[in-house]
Amino acid sequence: MIVQVNGKRSELPDSIKSIAELLAHYELDKKVVIVEMNETIVDRNEHDNTIIQEGDKIELVQFVGGG
């Protein structure tokens, strides 16, 4: 499936269906990340249930502590 992640065209393996799986794919599942899909924020409790579709526009913003 082809989606846009952070503005870039990304081809995802077929095994990835949900936002939670997408985060695991990018090794962000244990990080604090805000997910926006098609310009709507996806609630953290909905990461498992939110299914990704072909062409979705996804933005991932990770919170980091350094400075």
Partner: protein, 340 residues
């Protein structure tokens, strides 16, 4: 009249009036590391009336690659960052009142520091301090500008009490130490980029141009050429304990105050006495000299004691940094062996 600020005044959105506002304001910069030194320099050059800068650490050679106010001599002499920063900032602009403190901010200290402060800017390197700032900012209704970076990635968000979601809304859970502990390094330009975002937001707030605030959570990766910008308004929760309808300011409560902290990626533990003390460094030097084994180095602000693979740095406010370990109990044992 001096023309020090002429280019900033020519900039339409600031102008003569904006400049006067900037010069009448007080900004608190928490932390004088990479972000803090960049913020401090920008704000002082811009002519902010009063800048207070606080930091708990001292300058080391590994800081010089990105912490723009410091020199080799600061690192050689282990000058506390707050002291070295103030000296350099004074040289840059003597018009600005610069106040600096060598301390690790806790609730008590922050309650004092924020008196008369218009804006708080985030120059810290950890979530514990940021969540403390977040609660203080909500309690006293002071805008603050979050910024953070690691490797080539950075982000920033401007938090206006009563309007935007707060950091607690955004994070929901406090990230575990490991998640924020960066062992992947950082490049200087990403620091500059975060600082640029933070400073610009501060200037907008100082001149009262709230319309122009960015209003979005912004993040970027300069190496991967990514740029993200998200509207997070919907993340604000009326049940948030920091900014919601019935705030309890959880991070201002005593239980959240860590007495001993592992400083991430630095193989260092900070130990803080239960109450601030005024440590007599000369007396400490005598005690350590009598104990015999290690090497003692001292400057007016701190005393460094090296023995074997370990080094302990004692600050006048009672804090001790134990270098060479990530083990809090080991650090405490060494601390109590000397301090009793």
């Amino acid at each position: 009249m001096t023309n020090r600020y002429s280019r900033q005044i020519l900039f339409q959105n600031i102008g003569e009036q904006g400049q006067q506002k900037i010069q009448s304001k007080h900004v608190l910069v928490v932390g004088a590391g990479a972000l803090g030194t960049g913020l401090g320099e920008n704000l002082v050059r811009a002519g902010v009336g009063k800048v207070t800068i606080v930091d708990r650490d001292y300058v080391e050679f590994s800081n010089l690659q990105r912490q723009q106010l410091y020199t080799e001599s600061d690192a050689i002499n282990r000058i506390p960052k707050a002291v070295a920063a103030k000296k350099r900032l004074k040289e840059i602009n003597s018009d600005v009142t610069i106040v600096s403190h060598v301390l690790d901010v806790t609730k008590e200290e922050l309650e004092d520091l924020i008196k008369g402060v218009d804006i708080i800017v985030d120059g810290t390197d950890n979530f514990d301090t940021r969540l403390l700032i977040n609660d203080i900012a909500q309690k006293y209704n002071i805008p603050w500008v979050y910024g953070a970076c690691v490797s080539s990635y950075g982000l920033s968000y401007t938090i206006i009490p009563g309007e935007t979601p707060c950091l607690n809304c955004l994070l929901e859970t406090v990230p575990l130490g490991g998640a924020t502990c960066d062992t992947v390094g950082v490049i200087s330009p990403v620091v500059q980029m975060v600082v640029a975002h933070q400073t610009t937001e501060v200037l907008k707030l100082l001149v009262g141009d709230k319309e122009s605030l960015r209003k979005k959570l912004v993040s970027f990766d300069l190496w991967k050429n990514d740029h993200m910008s998200i509207n997070v308004d919907k993340v604000k929760k009326s049940s948030c304990p920091s900014c919601g309808d019935n705030p309890t300011y959880p991070f201002l409560s005593y239980e959240h105050e860590t007495k001993s902290t592992v400083l991430c990626g630095r193989n260092t533990v900070q130990i803080r006495p239960p109450k601030p003390v005024d440590r007599d460094l000369n007396q400490l030097k005598d005690i350590l000299t009598n104990q015999g084994t290690g090497t003692i180095e001292q400057n007016p602000y701190l005393l460094s004691y090296t023995f074997g693979e370990k080094r302990m740095v004692f600050f006048k406010d009672g804090r001790v940094l134990v270098h060479g370990t990530n083990d809090i109990s080991e650090a405490k044992t060494l601390y109590h062996r000397i301090i009793g």
